[in-house]
Every structure is written in C-alpha cells, then in structure tokens.
Symmetry: D2
Subunit: 365 residues, 4 copies
C-alpha cells in the first residue's frame, strides 16, 4: 500500500520537502475522540530542530486539520492534517552529485529522474512532521485509555543513557516533557557536547532510541504475519535513518541461554506477569501484558560538510561533495518524537484490530 | 491481514503443530514458472532437524501441491502446498503450566482458551515447513533471474562465524549446500559443540543469522511505508524466535560518524555502486543495487529441560516446569532455511510491485 | 488481493476443477465459534446438482477441516477447508476451441497458455463448493447472533417467483430447507419445466436471485469506499455468471421520483425504521437497520450442446463447437447457496470491521 | 481500507461538505505522467451544477496539487489534490429531522452523533469533486495509452437515450465535450424538460448511466475475487446514489438463453473478438479485449422540497420535512463525470496490477 499503513486504523502520507504542503490522513479513527491541537503543537515542537545542536532551518509547523474534526472531536471519517512548508530555500539543494547515505541515487533509479529532488523531496525527514502530528492525536487518545508511550536517547555518539528505572511511568513523564529526551541529564549533556564537536568537524553522529509502552493489554497481535513486532517494525523501518529494530533484550538475546532468556511467569497481585522482560512484552507475536520495549538504531545524519566521494549522476562521473545547507549534526533526538507517533499509530491499529475501533473511546469524554 | 502477507505476491499460512495438515497458499505468481519439487524437498531437508544437535522428532515433509500447478509449471492461479503432520505425539504436550518464553500465556489471553495448545498449535515452528516450501518456489525462480539468496549462522552461543568473503556468490553456493550453514567450518564445529553442551545441561542457545541477497536491481521499494526494510522486517519478525532485525551495519551504525557510515558512490565498470555497504543495499527504503544484507537475532529455544518458574493457568498458581518432549537445543541453524524462504517471498513481492508479476518469468523457460 | 477477500475477516480460495483438491482458508474468525459439520454438508448439498434439471456429474463433497478447529470450535487461527475432487473425467474437456461465454479466451490471454484449462480450471463453478463450505460456518454463526440470510430464485427463464411476504423470517426458513428455492412452488414448477425444455433443446436459461438479510444492525459499513453495497457487490461479482447486482428497488429506482424513492422514516415500537425499503437497508453505504435486500442477475449456463461459432485458439481459426459434457441447463438455483455463503462472509466481515471480530461470539456457546 | 481504494494504484478521499477543504491522494502513480491542470478543471466543470436544471450552489473548484507533481509531471510519490470549500451556507443545513433517502439516520447510528451533519458531511456529493479531479489525471493518462472512457445518460425520468452507435470512439468524443451527456440531443432535451418539471413540483428524478471503455487490452483482472467486475462495482457503489451496477446486457441476460447470451468468438482482421458483446468485455472476471460496458442505476436526488414524513432523531418523534436548500432536481447527469473518473481509477489500477505501474507511461512523453 506504499504511502498508506495500517489495517483497521490507517495513516496516509504525502508531500515533499520543498512542495507547498505536506500532510497526513488518519482513517479508521472512532468518532468522539477529543483532538487537542495544543498537544499536537507540543509534539511538533519536540520534533523541531532547536538550539545549537540542530539545523539552522527554522521550521514553522502551523498545521491545519481540514476534515474529520467537528466541535473539537473526531467525526469518525478521515482526519486530514496539512502543514504548509514555510521556510524553504531551494537554492541550497540545487541538483547535482548524489549525496552519500541519502536516497538520491536509489530514488533516481526508482523514479527515472522525475523525482522532486529538492531537499530530498518525499524522502525528506520533513515529511515526519505530518506523521508526528497524526500520531499525536493517538498518543493523546491512548493516554486516556491508560496506555503511555515514551522514548529516550538510549545511546548517542557512543554514550549510553541510564536504563529505565523501577518507576517507568515517572520516566515517561519526564521524557515527554524534555526536548532532548534522556533519563540521565549528565549523560545527555555529554551527548550534546559530542554532537557539537561533530558539528564543528563538519561531521554527524547517530544513536539508539529506546521506546517503552506501558499499559498495553495482553492478547494483542497475531502469530502470522501481523505479529505486534512485525507491525511495529514495518512502521519503524519507514522512519528515515532507522537501520535496526530489536525487541526486549534484542540482539543480546542471541547470546543468552534459554534458561536466561525465558521470562519466568509469576503471579503479582493476582495477575500473571513475567519476572523479567527479555521478550519485550511480546511472545509469539502477541502482547503478554508486560511493557512493550524496543530499540531503534538511528544512523548518523547523512548530510555533512566534510568532503565525501560521490558520483554526479547527470554526468556519470566521480566527484566529491561537501554539503553546505543547514543540517543537523544528529537527528536521533528529534527522531524520538517521530518514533513515539509511529508507535502510537501502530499500537492503536493493533488494538483496533483486536477489539474494534471503538475501543479507543473513553465513554465519558 | 493476519495470516496473509504481501501485496502483489502473497502467501497465506494455516495449520497447527498437531493438526492433520499444515499448508501455504501462494497467490500472485505469474504463470509459466517451473516448479522443481526436488528443490522444495531439499529446502525442507535443510529446515528439518538433523543429528545429535536437533530434536528427536523425525518430521516427514511429504508435501503435495494441490493447485496452481499444471504440467510442471505455475498456472498463475493460487498454488496451495499441503504438508500432513506425520510423527505427532500429543501426549508430550498435554496442557498444563505455561511454558516460559513461549506464546502459551499470550495465546491463552488472545484466544480465550479455545486455542489448540498441543505442541504450540498455530505458533509452532512446525508451520515454518509450509513457509519454507512456498518460499522455495520463489528462491528457485529468483535464481533464474540472477538473484541469489543465502544465510549463514553468523553467531551462535557467543561464537562468531567468519564474514562474507570477497566472493559472496561462492559463499552463497557453499551455504546453500550445507545443513549447518557457516562460512568457517571450524567455527561451525565449535558452535555445534556449544549446542551439544547446552543440550547436556538441559538448556538451549540462540544466535544471529546473516542474510545476503545478490543481484537485486536498484530502484525497488518505497519511501513510505513499504520500504524494502519495512517489508523484509515485517515478514522476518513473524518467524518464531526472531527478536531483532538490522540492515547493513545495523546497530553498529549508531556508533559511526556520518563520514564513516555514508557509503561513498563510485563508478565501477561503468556502473554506479557504493565503495562500502554500511546501508545494506537500501537507501531511503529503496534498493541501490548493492547486495541486500541483514541480520536477525534468534533467541534460544524456549523449550528446555531445566526447571523453570511458571504459572499454571488453569489453577492460576505459581509452579515449576521441566519440558521433557523432543526439543532442539538450538533452532538458529534450522531457522536459516525459513529466513531464506521468507526473504525470497518478500523480494519477489517487492519486484512484482515494482515491475509487475510477470517480471519473474524467464522468457525461454 | 486476488484470491483473498475481506478486511477483518478474510477468505482465500484455491483449486481447479480437475486438480486434486480445492480449498478455502477463513482467517479472522474469533475463537470459540462452534463449527457444525452437518450444517456445512447440508449447505454443500444445496449447491450440488440434483435430479433431472442438473448435470450428470455427481459431485462428492467430502470436505475436511484441517486447521483452526479444536474440540468442535474455532481456535481463532486460520480455518482451512479442503475438498478433494472426486468424480472427474478429464477427457470430457480436452482442450480445443474456446467455449463462448466462458473465460477460456480471456484466461488464455491472461495466463499465456499455462492455465489449467481442464473443466474451466480455477474459473470453474466447482471452486464455489469451497466458498459455500467456508460461508456455511459464518451463516451458522450469524444465525446465532440473530442475523438470517436467505435467497430465492426470483426469476428464471422469464418466470417470476412471488415476492417476499409480510413474514420474511418464515420465508427464509422455507427457502433454506428447499433445494430449488422459490417462495411460490407452482412458479418454481414452471421454472423447472422451462429448464427441462431448454435442456432438451441443448440450450440453457438464466435468472435472477434475490437475497434478504434479516436482523442486520444499523450503522455498519463505510461511506467511502467500503460501503456495505461496495463490499457485497465486490464479492458477488466474483461468483461465476453474476452480471448484475442491485440493492433495494435497484434499477427500478432510476425511474422513480424522489418523493417515491425516499423511504420515509417512522417510529415503530419505539424504534426508528423506514416505512418502505426501496434503499434495501443501506443509505450512504451504511446499514439503516432495515433488511438488506439485493438482486443478482445470473446469466444462462454458457456450456450448451447447441452448436456455436467460435475460434480454435491453437490454430487461430474460426470453427464451431457443441459442448457434450455433463452440464447444467441452469445454474441460478445452485448459485443461491453460493450467494448465501458469500453474503455471510461479507456481512461477517462488515460486522467485524465495525464491532471487532469477537462480536460474532455468543457468550454462552 | 475504508476511504482508500485500490491495490497497485490507490486513491484516498477526505473532507466534508462544509469543512475547510476536501481532498484526494493518488498513490502508485508512475513517475513521468504529464498532469494537465486545464483538463482537470474541465472535468470538474462537467461535474459542476450548471444552469436551470441544477442547484443554486455555485461551487468553485479552485483545486491545488500540493505534492507528487514536479515540472508538470508526476514524481511517482503521492499526488495530493486539495479543493477548498468556497460557497458554503451552513444555515441551510441546521441539524434537525433526518432527511429521507439520505444517510442522516445511518450516519447518526454509525458515528454516534459526532458526525459533521452539515450538508451531509463526508457523505456529501461534494466529496466527488476531489474524486473527479483525481480520476481526471488517469483519464488523461489512459487516453494517451489508447484507452478512452465515456458515459452517457442512458435513461432519465423514464426517457431512454439512443444506444451507442457503430462508431463508439466518435460517440465518446461527443459525450466528453457535453455538459449534459446524451447521444441523442432531442431525447436529452426531453430529459431536461422532465427534470425542470420535477423541480417545479418540488420533486426530483433519477436515471441510468451507461459507460463504455474502449481500447482495454484482453487478459486484465482476476478470477477470484478481484474480477474486473468486482473492482469496478466496488468503486462504483461508493458513488452516492448508485444503487445498481450491471455489465454488458446485465439483468436482461437473466432472460436470455445460453445460445443468445454467449458471445460467439470470431476472427476480425486477424484478431480474436466476439461477434456480440453481451458480456460487456469481461469473461470470468477477465477482460476479453472487447469494449467494457456497464450501467449504473442512479436514484433520484433525495433532497426535495415536497413534504416528507420523517423522524426528528434528537426528540425521537415523527415529524415532516421539506428541504429548502439549493438542491439539484437530478444528479444523474452530474454523476457521469464522477463515474468516468472512478472508472479511470479502477481501470488504471487493474492495468497496474497486471502489467506493473509503469505501463501507463508513454515513452516519449
């Protein structure tokens, strides 16, 4: 389905970095869900570049919801969000040599030269603003149903953040109030220093995002092929720069013995839980009621000032490139708002597939 | 779509571990593709447990293709493969305490106690036999179009295999002829020793599979949401025990600088390539003509003889379990045949979405 | 999705007229639905040719459910039904000239000569046996939820049956107990005479089926594009020989004035209903709580003994054909069992999309 | 998929009658297709109410294409068309009694009172403007590939238009240049008189549209379930007011004998064709190379001035309603532009499924 994702609840994306507007259409929303535009704006702010460690491009995200909303609540018909592209300087991006690490060459083969190459076109991280806005509506709705989602920069430039504490709900609250979302502010400061250093060198750094979903009911997902892991990974891998997704202990699980990796089942306050959560809240593709936990590897921003070898596609000749536009020396901290929104969309869809779309509605809202 | 996967080419799975038959339906195949039943049997053999390091269950896989095949070639209408479940001993699996690391508890909540719990039911690795058989048809067809797929046990019980050599085509040939697929036989021997040791301890080990796809044309996949990575990960995460999927340098990319991670574009023999392949052959969700490379983390077999804490779901009481049936102390080496087949199905679907279903047909076949 | 239909509840079909087995896979069924194999057999009997007015081919339909069923109830994982093809005489169908009115020529272009042409292959009405069996499970489940479906031969060979009476529930009961389903037996007798006459002339006749769905809740379906009418028509038009589908007053509505066609809303026993039902229970694509009513035009059986002009595709030469195999002089009365099953599948899917898959479960079953 | 339709080429619709903007997103377009904005405007003009026989609402359709278009050609990424709602008078539509024949009551049950009821909201015919614009891009692209689509008002207010002539290409050219599309202008004049009379009586009339698709290649469509008829009917039944769809001779086929209904195959200028076209260019769900022909029954406009019985949903009381806003006494002639666009979208998708998305591209464009 290309630019549409989801089964019972879907999102459709459109737009290019330098086109007039980008947008997202959410379909399958139940009617009667409150839409808090200030919350959407807040989530867009978390995604926006800010301060010394981010691009000079000052993105304005004055979104408009043009359908599916009536008297402050969803109507149940498609909700379209449009965001005009304001501060665009096309001259920064005049076509030329393919930018290494970007989709320029792959897109050129895919679209035969008709692609809108300005600023990465439809491949641009800019499009994630629409995705972030759409997901914000669901983040908010899920929270009302007791499902909380949050992400921290678990690693950046080789520096690890602290792990989630014994009070993950408080952790999520803290993260969702932070522009640079880490659990340990001192390590966060070190990460920002490393980002600044990379910027000074005309280079960039990557990192790892770790996401937690609290309050997810057990029994959601499918064994084949729409496992909770499959659906989440599908959506997460379409976020630009994500190159790896792992659940629970992830790749570390490959080195464990069965007796270590298996999460023992226990009864806590009359409820079946697992003593550990190496499986990240999912067994056999189906949620087991424990927190969903996963990590995304985010590669370093491909746009760097440092000179790189590349090919001028028009002339089919090797050349070099030094990318001078306004670029982030790291996107991992900004990507977290996107990952939260993507997670909310997938989780809402999984719940809708399992319990019907109306499940999201809180009766007295 | 639950048990159906794919867009232009789809596979539908059904069956349970101890039911009469399991099966797969391939739809969207072009007409005129030769079906080599001996090759399917060979791929099923690679998936089957074998020798000291595998389960005592001697699976017979006498598959039957009951539709979509006429005079040895596909008709273009759905091809259904059925595999009867032969050597089944239900008494090994009488219902009781949930097996840690398995889907027992999650399935119980999902299906409300109506699930066929015998041998894991629909969650059983047994179902992958049908998937392996279906994918074998496409592995074969892709090979005729110059696209070769192969997987090695890149890591098992903490032991690394060698990396792919400078002659990856030869590597794949070797791997596809091996039951225990490693590039370095000595390290493979050590892995098998570790597996045997784990078995002796009543325990199990996990590992990492690394898959290479050679000959993939550039320009295949979509930016949102059906990126080549998204589609592959979606299918791979539905393979039992896979907990992580990473492309190219994967999680290691998170620690690189942009100047390291970006693959410089170069011209080799008149063709645009990249000097390195940290992106695993995919940029912006679209293939760039380099080999597709990815890794899957495979957790240790959850069924172990060692005593584990768990809960008896019927009685809602904590208890312990020691699993005595015939179980593999490792499944990573067997999972590779499944991963190859899943990869073939996704790659064939991506190609069909891009170029139409007929692309797979070799004109003179 | 080619041979898979549905959103929350799907059916996948496979098989050919003269292949070893045909089958259907139902996915998205909730767990815990009773499966009454005698009822499935009964519905297959209604579809089977019988007596003087039907083909000499004595189809045996000894179906097997090989997955998704445990202790007499659905498990919630895919339920596969297989029906072996018993009484097949391939010599009746040796390939030669294209049969007019059949798919022979279209299929030949579509599949390039690789199609299994024997007995119509995958296009054969034979495949509807699997569809009928799959739908029977849902007919039964819907009945337990108070939703009853029935179809009569509203017209055959130019002879009209009586209209539904003021007691449609009784009408459906009568129809579902009849092999030749008409409301007025005398007119049914005349239809059968006309069929017999056509058979004697080596010719065939068509007809119109009219289907009623009682007990459908209001508020089911979507405005764009998955209207209740769209979903029903999609599935109905894949039933062989159906060339028209119309809801409520259908084409007669085109000749009405708005003041006639609009169904006035009234309150009956405290419930909002419509005084008439020209819209067939659907407004704006969404059910309004009145009975769903639609008609299908069924063309005459294309296989006739009478000589017809055609083309020998192998030789690309005009020729004539007289089809001598065992063929029905009418299929409209047999197609009704197929239409009932297709209706049940679509209705169950529409309900599952609206209320979740579990809606079908009766709590005390 | 609710508001998204299509497999390889999809359209997503959003918007409400009185919301700020309506829109459509086309996905799966190949890159390099010219987009003629003047042609889109012309198709929107054909859909717009005009003159004495149409509503007083003067719709302005100043559409904007905000993505997927670069240098006048498609980029291959989603193309979004937005149309602001200009001339809206919400006071005409203040909520009150359900309008008979409209979706008001069904929508109220479906959306629980949260629906945007103003002017029919998402159910409004207004939304078809976005659909018409999206389809226009494909009408144009198909024409360049030799596939021409056109529709006439085959019947209105009980008056029949002439049938297609022996020169259907000329017929289509004439129709596509007409606001009130009939083949016989005198009969068209009588239809318009009948429409005017109905308007004077505060009533409305319906009609039948007949659509022809010339130049369609043979071998397109699927046997189960995505027959060409299924796909077309699915989309056509989502057009407001369409209550019946029939292919070729349609319901008249039910009264034919096999010897009449079967289209004899013949060779004309070396090409296999059929002597008649009772099957409307489709056999077994697959095109046979003859023109595709189908009819849609369009019910009379439900909004009439004449007093009607209805129910006030808020008060749950019977009442009467006389609808005074600006309404068309007939919509059948306007619906033809919508039907043409819907047909183009489905035909383009069927071709893309069969031959790949690139098929639409003309190499030298």
């Amino acid at each position: 389905m290309k630019n549409t994702f989801g089964s019972s609840m879907t999102v459709t994306l459109f737009g290019e970095s330098h086109g007039p507007e980008i947008g997202a259409v959410l379909d399958g929303l139940p009617s009667g869900i409150p839409v808090d535009e200030a919350f959407i704006a807040e989530r867009l702010r978390l995604r926006r570049p800010a301060g010394a460690i981010s691009t000079g491009r000052r993105e304005q995200d004055p979104f408009r919801i043009v359908s599916g909303l009536f008297n402050g609540k969803t109507t149940g018909t498609p909700l379209a969000i449009l965001i005009p592209n304001g501060d665009v300087r096309s001259r920064d991006y005049s076509f030329g040599p393919a930018r290494p690490g970007h989709a320029d060459y792959a897109a050129h083969v895919r679209y035969g030269g008709y692609e809108d190459y300005r600023g990465g076109g439809h491949f641009s991280g800019r499009i994630t603003a629409a995705l972030t806005a759409a997901g914000a509506i669901l983040l908010d709705a899920l929270e009302r149903k007791g499902i909380r989602i949050g992400t921290h920069v678990a690693r950046c430039a080789g520096i690890d953040d602290a792990a989630f504490s014994g009070n993950p709900a408080a952790d999520l609250e803290k993260l969702n109030a932070s522009v640079f979302a880490v659990l340990d502010e001192q390590r966060g400061e070190k990460m920002r220093e490393a980002i600044t250093r990379a910027a000074e060198e005309g280079d960039s750094v990557g990192g790892v995002l770790e996401t937690l979903v609290l309050g997810m009911p057990a029994g959601v997902g499918e064994p084949w092929f729409d496992s909770a892991e499959s659906e989440l990974a599908h959506a997460l891998f379409s976020v630009p720069a994500v190159k790896g997704v792992a659940f629970g202990a992830g790749f570390a699980m490959a080195d464990m013995k069965g007796s270590e990796a298996n999460d023992p089942l226990v009864i806590r306050e009359g409820k079946i839980e697992t003593a550990t959560n190496h499986n990240g809240g999912i067994n056999g593709g189906i949620t087991n009621g424990m927190p969903i936990l996963f990590r995304c590897a985010v590669k370093p921003t491909p746009s760097i000032r440092k000179e790189q070898r590349t090919v001028n596609m028009a002339e089919n000749q090797e050349t070099t490139i030094s990318i001078d536009g306004r670029h982030d020396p790291a996107i991992v901290h900004r990507a977290r708002a996107v990952v939260d929104s993507v997670t909310a969309i997938v989780v809402a869809d999984l719940l809708a597939q399992r319990f019907g779309n109306e499940w999201l509605v809180v009766s007295d809202q």
